[in-house]
Amino acid sequence: MENKSPLSPHIQIYRWHISSLVSITHRITGIINIAVITLICLWVSLLLLGESKYETISLLLNSLEGKFIILAITWSFSFQVLSEIRHLIMDLGYGFELKTTKISGSIVIVGSIIFTVIFYLIGKGFL
């Protein structure tokens, strides 16, 4: 049976704002993150195959591409964390003014890049 309830409007109809950019990126990074977590579950499972079989995965992760993938994952996780905190604050009833949504949206975008650098430095023991 076809559902007659309205679907979300196509994203190309309205003019883009920071809030719409953060909203759609939140959804995209959410889907990327769960795909990444699935791959991480697979990675952990492959540990059972033993050290010799792990060598191939280790080579990939130690390559330049591997480091780029880890940085991309870090950004995606950072974006999701900041965007989720923004959502939780809005759920408490704060930050609905147009100016505030622009500022909080900008904080999420810029903050995710800063967080990526900070997390990488902490993870590698530089901080």
Binding site: E2, I34, T38, S58, G66, G123
Partner: protein, 107 residues
Amino acid sequence: MINATKKWIFLKISGAILVPLMLWFIINLIHIYDEKYIDVVSFFTNSTSSFLFSIFIINAYFFSALSISEVFEDYIANDKIKNVANKLLYASAVVIPLITIILISRL
């Protein structure tokens, strides 16, 4: 309380729990991804790490299943396709973390 309200509350609680777990995991992932096999295994066999990782993946799949079902609600008009997609989503949200946790316990 209607189902939509319950779903919203679960989504918010799991989202709040996920934030510190994501921070913990991403920092540790950066620390171990290029380490030797023995170091990666020792991370996942450490009781605190394996416990937190298990909670992290259970919560992440639970949160994602609820979130992605909202995306299905917004963009899939056909109820049959939406129901199948939701069932597959919820099944994978149970099966994948469960299998991973069992495998970690055998490391």
